[in-house]
């Protein structure tokens, strides 16, 4: 089965600081996405992580706030910058595997609490 590892699994941060979340997958993927799930809410796409180029952001999300890197086919990072309590959410990495039927799989998420 697919293995998508996210680090950290949870963290408590102070207002104004930044946190980088890592996503490592066990085999090559065609696409990687970052989603946000606010407490008790649905999932909202933040951006598509593009290998070797700038991420593609959805409406309402900007690179200065959520810089994303994807240096290779199996790894990506999402940084939540200058955090405020409103950023308290679960951040989820999602991938499409090259050898699957094109379906999306999710990591277990990184639960972020901002004080």
């Amino acid at each position: 089965s697919a293995v998508i590892s996210q680090k950290p699994s949870r963290d408590i941060c102070q207002r104004g600081t930044s946190l980088t979340i890592q996503c490592q997958v066990d085999s090559q993927v065609t696409m990687m996405f970052w989603y946000r799930q606010q407490p008790g809410q649905s999932l909202t796409l933040i951006a598509t992580a593009n290998q070797g180029s700038e991420a593609t952001y959805e409406s309402g999300f900007v690179i200065d706030k959520f810089p994303i890197s994807r240096p290779n086919l199996t790894f990506s990072t999402l940084t939540v910058s200058n955090m405020s309590p409103e950023d308290s959410s679960i951040y989820l990495c999602s991938v499409v595997y090259r050898d699957h039927t094109g379906e999306l799989f999710f990591g277990e998420g990184s639960r972020l609490t901002v004080l």
């Binding site: 999932l43 094109g102 379906e103």
Partner: protein
């Protein structure tokens, strides 16, 4: 155009009963409709998915019914069990070049199956 509307918000079913969750979409270009199951503290896990070339897909106790003309699809859980208690999300996407693209999620249904 990108919305996926899901109902009900919560559902309580007796063990052995049938759980039914409904979703409606607006964008007729969507051609991939997955359902995800999420347990507390976990990432969403793909449960079952359907493409619009069929009206029904069944996997074990889980069935998707799809009505293309009405732009609606639903998840039926037969013989519901307490272990099925989770949050269920419908989603819609474009399926292009053998891969699903970014998903648009419904608002989620919290299912509780009573023993």
């Amino acid at each position: 155009q990108q919305q996926v509307k899901q109902s009900p918000q919560s559902l309580i079913v007796q063990k052995g009963g049938i759980s039914i969750i409904n979703c409606a979409y607006e964008n007729t270009a969507f051609d991939y409709f997955p359902w995800y199951q999420q347990f507390p503290g976990k990432g969403p896990a793909l449960l079952i998915a359907i493409r619009p070339d069929v009206s029904e897909k069944k996997e074990g106790r889980f069935t998707i019914s799809f009505n293309k003309s009405a732009k609606q699809f639903s998840l039926h859980i037969m013989d519901s069990q307490p272990g099925d208690s989770a949050t269920y999300f419908c989603a819609a996407s474009f399926f292009f070049s053998g891969s699903a693209r970014q998903l648009t999620f419904g608002s989620g249904t919290q299912l509780t199956v009573l023993p």
